[in-house]
Each structure stands twice: as structure tokens, then as C-alpha cells.
């Protein structure tokens, strides 16, 4: 088994993660980590729902940002699918989606200021890139026969809109609804960098030690995500879409002078701005590469590889919690609740909380990434294991897990895991903003120092790293002959 292709890949990745351990800082540095955790749990159990005004604003803003951003992204992504056969467009989409929402927001906050547009664009742009890719994949899978049965002279656009798109429509809808859930998470964490969504209030409550408020914010967020099926009715969507822009709030006025300056001066590399030309540019770039990009890349890779393996381990341990092939309704219900909490808490939020409890090191980041992504994959694998038909008299207990289920769900499990590799790396880079020295740490530092030219170079490097990992992951999936549908894997 270990000599099969999946076995070799698995062992290689575990080996890499173990080799990363000695280089990684995994210490708990706070004096009383468990006491803090206790206070947080107590806060969760005694949520303070009295500050209704603040709660309500936080949530309407979070939902409004998500709806507007995802809708814009979906429309733009849909139009991009019509051009997706062009290599240029595909590269463009890969590029815009390789930059995390938070990085986009950091960029827009610098040029547009604290304005709803900053948040909406930060969600819409990367989502447009993702939508364009997944929509085209879904549409490509549509039955080709209707397109053949219509008159030969029908235009390409008519053929596309009448035959391919309607065929794919139900899948497009499901996928868009799923992305809206992601949009809600993205919208919530945009608050951590200053936009008026949930994260903003969460950070304020944490900073002041109001754990009951933290509890209230988190609980309402879980309820919001868990009940999406109930309030996200197809008939109500147009209502939400029309209403959403009115709930974004006002923000500061946009200074158009700042916008122009940002693009024409701020992000132009410093030596070029001063007319030092190539002579000055080279040492400037080498300085960034050697002192910021390289350590940033190194730490990003360390953290990503450890988090990837931890995610896999956690997912394999978690999926039996919801699998119907094991007895016990109590186990299943509590398993579902645990996995819903794990996958609906954004990594960034989890990492923020754990960092408050344990102090800055890679440990909270690994745990946060593993909990969130392990929750998602565990959920998908659990559902998949339910479809495994077991013969009568199949072994029970651990033998059933090890001999009947894991071997069957292992290939799709690996496919999900490798699909999330790029996502984990995107998040890893972002977690730097919380103080872990990944690429985001240096981006945030450069922005603090108002050196946007440096920040842009580092963001570009992060994007290239993500594109590279995405390509590598695709290769490995092809080598392992893993296939998954785009609708359930994202």
C-alpha cells in the first residue's frame, strides 16, 4: 500500500512536514494559556446579547458586503467565462484569484480609504477570478448535444446562452450559493483590518476582554451560516441583492487625488520614482528579496506544509464523527455541530483567537488552519463515506474504519486535500498580518511604513507562489489520477 502512488505521495508530504518541525517556532508564550481559554469558553456559554444595536449593525454590514461583493464577482466571472478560451484571460483570472481578499483590501484601503467600495472590491475581484474558472469548468461539462441540435448558423453567443449555460444552471446556482458562504467569511474577516464588519467588533471586544461579547458575536455568526438554507431562498435573493448596497454604510469620502497618487507614485518602486533608474532599482529589489521575501517565503512554506499534513490527519480522524456507517445518533449530531463550527469559523478568526490565548508562534496558525480546513474536508469525506456500500457482515469498529472506509475514500480525500493546498497557502500568507513571520507580515510591515512599492512587490511574490503551488497541486493530482467535481471540492 505504501508503495502505491498515493502511498508514496502521502509519505513524502508527511516527511516534508516532519522535516519542517525543527525550523518552526511552535512555542506557547503566554503565561496562562488555559486560563484565557477558560475565560473564552465561559464567554461563549454566557453570550452577551444585550448590545443589540452594535450586533445588528455588525451583521447587516457583514451580510451587505458579502452579497454585494459576491454578486459583482459572479457577474464579472460569468462574463469572463465567455472569454475563458483565451490564454491571456485564464492567466489574468489565475492572477487576480491568487491574491487574497485581505491583500486586495489592504491595497484598496490605501487608495480609497475606509469606504464600502474598498471592501466590496476586495471580495469581488478575487471572487471574479474563482467564478470565471469554476463556472467555465461546470459549463464545459454540459451535454454537448443541444448545441448540435440547433441550427448551424446560430451564433456562438446564442449557442452558449441557450444551450450550455441553461444546462449547467442548477450547478452554477449551487456553486454560487456555496461561494456566498465563503463571501460571508471573507466579509467577516475584513473587519480585522479596519472595515466595519464583524471582525472589527470581534477584535474590539477581545482587546477589551469582553469575552461575553465575543461569545455573542461568534454565536450569531454560526447561527447565520448554519441557517443559510432557511434564509437564502431563491425568491428572496433578488430582494437581498437590491437591498444590500443600502446597508453598506457610508464610510469616509473617497479622495480621488489619493487614488491617482497611489497608482502613479506610491506603488512605483522608490528608485524609479527618484530617477535612479536600473542602477538604483536592482539593489532595492535585491534588498527586498533577501531581507523580506526570502524569509517570508521560507516561513510561508514551512507553515503551509505543516498545516497541510495536520489538516489531512484531522480530516481523517474527524470524518467518522458524521459517517452513518458507525452507530449512534448522539455522536453524529455532536459530530455535525463540531464540524459546522470548525468549517464556518474563518482560519483568520480562529488564528486570531488562538493567538490571543497562546501568544505569537506558528502553533496557533497550524491549529487554526488544520481545524478549519480539516473541518471542511472531514465533512466532505464523511458524506462520501456514506455512499460506500458495505457487504453484509462487514467488520465493525476500527476494522471497518481501517479496512472498509479509509481505503475507499482515500483518493477523493487526497484530491480535496491537494485542492486546498493552494487555499491553505493563501491563508498562511495572510496570517502574517497577525504577527507570524509569513509573507503577510512583511506586506503589513511595508504598509505600516507607508512603503507601498515594497508591499506591492511582496504581494506579487505571494501571488506567484500561490500560482506555483496551484500548478504543482494540479500536476500531483493528475499523476495520482484524482478527479473531483468542482462544485463540491471548492
Amino acid at each position: 500500500m505504501l508503495r502505491s502512488r498515493t502511498g508514496v505521495v502521502t509519505l513524502t508530504f508527511i516527511g516534508i512536514a516532519l522535516a519542517c518541525l525543527p525550523f518552526a517556532d511552535l512555542a506557547v508564550t503566554t503565561l496562562n494559556p488555559w486560563q484565557e481559554l477558560q475565560r473564552l469558553l465561559k464567554g461563549l456559554l454566557t453570550p452577551d446579547l444585550t448590545a443589540t444595536d452594535a450586533l445588528l449593525t455588525a451583521f447587516t454590514r457583514t451580510i451587505a458586503y458579502a452579497f454585494t461583493g459576491v454578486a459583482l464577482g459572479a457577474v464579472a466571472g460569468f462574463f469572463l467565462t465567455t472569454l475563458f478560451s483565451s490564454r491571456l484571460i485564464r492567466v489574468f483570472c489565475a492572477f487576480i484569484r491568487s491574491i487574497h481578499e485581505i491583500f486586495w483590501a489592504l491595497i484598496f484601503l490605501q487608495c480609497l480609504g475606509i469606504h464600502p467600495l474598498s471592501g466590496v472590491l476586495a471580495i469581488a475581484i478575487p471572487f471574479a477570478g474563482i467564478f470565471a474558472k469554476v463556472y467555465s469548468e461546470i459549463i464545459d461539462e454540459a451535454d454537448p448535444l443541444p448545441a448540435r441540435a440547433i441550427p448551424k448558423g446560430s451564433g456562438r453567443m446564442a449557442r452558449y446562452l441557450f444551450t450550455q449555460v441553461p444546462e449547467a444552471w442548477p450547478h452554477l446556482r449551487t456553486y454560487t450559493a456555496y461561494r456566498l458562504e465563503c463571501g460571508l467569511r471573507s466579509s467577516a474577516i475584513l473587519g480585522f483590518i479596519g472595515l466595519p464588519t464583524l471582525g472589527f467588533h470581534l477584535e474590539a471586544a477581545f482587546a477589551q476582554g469582553f469575552y461575553s461579547q465575543v461569545g455573542a458575536l461568534l454565536l450569531v455568526f454560526y447561527v447565520l451560516i448554519a441557517t443559510m438554507r432557511l434564509w437564502l431562498r431563491p425568491r428572496l435573493v433578488p430582494v437581498y441583492l437590491v437591498a444590500a448596497p443600502f446597508f453598506l454604510g457610508e464610510g469616509m469620502p473617497i479622495m480621488w487625488g489619493n487614488v491617482t497618487r497611489f497608482f502613479t507614485e506610491d506603488i512605483v518602486p522608490h528608485p524609479l520614482r527618484n530617477g535612479e533608474g536600473w542602477e538604483g532599482f536592482q539593489p532595492w529589489l535585491m534588498d527586498i528579496l533577501a531581507n523580506q521575501a526570502l524569509p517570508g517565503i521560507w516561513n510561508t512554506l514551512l507553515l503551509t506544509q505543516m498545516a497541510l499534513v495536520a489538516t489531512g490527519v484531522l480530516a481523517l480522524l474527524a470524518f467518522p464523527l458524521i459517517a452513518t456507517h458507525f452507530g449512534g445518533p448522539v455522536r453524529r449530531t455532536s459530530g455535525h455541530v463540531l464540524l459546522v463550527i470548525a468549517r464556518s469559523t474563518p482560519e483568520y478568526m480562529l488564528a486570531y483567537i488562538l493567538l490571543q490565548l497562546w501568544g505569537p508562534s506558528m502553533l496557533p496558525a497550524v491549529v487554526a488552519l488544520a481545524l478549519h480546513n480539516g473541518g471542511i474536508i472531514g465533512h466532505l469525506v464523511g458524506r462520501m463515506s456514506d455512499e460506500v456500500p458495505l457487504r453484509k457482515g462487514a467488520p465493525t469498529g476500527f476494522n471497518r474504519y481501517a479496512w472498509e472506509l479509509v481505503p475507499r475514500v482515500y483518493p477523493p480525500f487526497l484530491a480535496f486535500l491537494f485542492y486546498r493546498w493552494e487555499i491553505i497557502m493563501r491563508e498562511t500568507a495572510i496570517l502574517g498580518i497577525l504577527g507570524i513571520t509569513t509573507l503577510g507580515f512583511y506586506v503589513e510591515g511595508a504598509i505600516q511604513e507607508i512603503r507601498f512599492d515594497r508591499a506591492m512587490v511582496l504581494i506579487l511574490i505571494t501571488a506567484l507562489l500561490n500560482i506555483g503551488v496551484d500548478a504543482l497541486s494540479r500536476r500531483i493530482r493528475a499523476w495520482l489520477r484524482l478527479r473531483t467535481r468542482p462544485t463540491c471540492e471548492a
Binding site: L145, A149, A158, F162, E167, W169
Partner: protein
Amino acid sequence: MAGLDVSNLSASYGGERVLGPLTLSLAPGQRVALVGRSGAGKSTLLSLLYDEAGPKTAFLPQELGLVDTLSVFHNVYMGQLDRHSIFYSLLNLLLPLRKPRQEVHAILETLGLADKLREPAGELSGGQRQRTAVARALYQQGDMLLADEPVSALDGPLARRVMDALTQDYPTSVIALHDVDLALAYSDRVIGIQDGHIALDEPSSRLTTADLQPLY
């Protein structure tokens, strides 16, 4: 009026030749019935003929090629997608306009399907789906029809009604039919296919049902 001339048509599947090579000439105004056992190569032949046929040819494949998520109206409207601008068609996709709606309604009426105008094609029975695809071919008003078993899911009188409508609108056609009586009644030339080759090619007037039996 369009005819069709093809020579040395052949098709292979998995390295094995399933059709041809065969040569065929179809004069304008000629109605051909394509008969033969299932698997003889009729569908493959029709598909290849469609590749060679002119731009105003209507194609009615056996699997119909309906878009299940769209209404019957939209599926029929698609027959004229080549005649309208993309904006006009897009408007009809979002909100069917009066004129095309009435035209489609009239065609559905002759096929006994007028009450299903707004129903999604995916929710229809097999016979209703087949008539929707027939309506699309009728609405197209092309100059030649290539149809693969267009009435296989319809019972006696309804099958004849549909065949009447198709032959009236399309004087030039190649229609695959497994029902020997229908084949003789609605054609003036019968081509029998056996193991991927033309085994019989005669005017219908000279044939009886008994002559076609060896093909099955």
C-alpha cells in the same frame, strides 16, 4: 431546395469500422426512410450526413438534444436562433415576446402540446419531449430534415399526426424509422442499412412490408 451528395462516408469506433464506406445521393424533394436493425449504423449515418449537410438543415437526434432546464417555448424557439440577433434572442430568453410565443404556440397546437408551453422540458414525459424536439425542427423551417426515430415514443394516431406535420414542412428528408408501416407510408425512397452498409435502396412504391423483413 437542397439535396445532398456524399461519398465514401465511414465511421470507426474503438478502432473498429462501424459504418461504410458508403456513397449516397439525395435529390431535392426526396423523402428517404432509413430502416434497419438497431445498431446497424442508422444514427451514425444521420450524424455524419448532418456534418455534410447545408446550413439550413434541421437535425433531430434520437436523444433529442433538449435543454431540460428551459421551457418548451425556449426549446422550440432555439430552432430559429440563427435568424435573430443575439439581443432579440436574449430578450426572449429572459421574457418571451408575443410574436414568437404565438408562432410557437401554433406549432405546439398541431402537435397537441399547447398546454405545456411554459413547462420545463425536463418535467415532460418521453412522448412530450419527443414532440417538443419535433416542434423545434418545424419552427426552424429549414430546407432539409435529418431525423432519428422522431416518433418512437408516440402511439399510433399521434405518431401519424407528427409524421404528417414533418413531411408537410420538409419535402426533403432522411428519417430513420423502425416502424416498417410508417417507413413505407411517409417516404418515396427506402434505404436499408445492415452492418454499416446499404443493403437495400428502392422506391417505396415497389416495396411491401415483407420486403423489409430480412433487414431485421
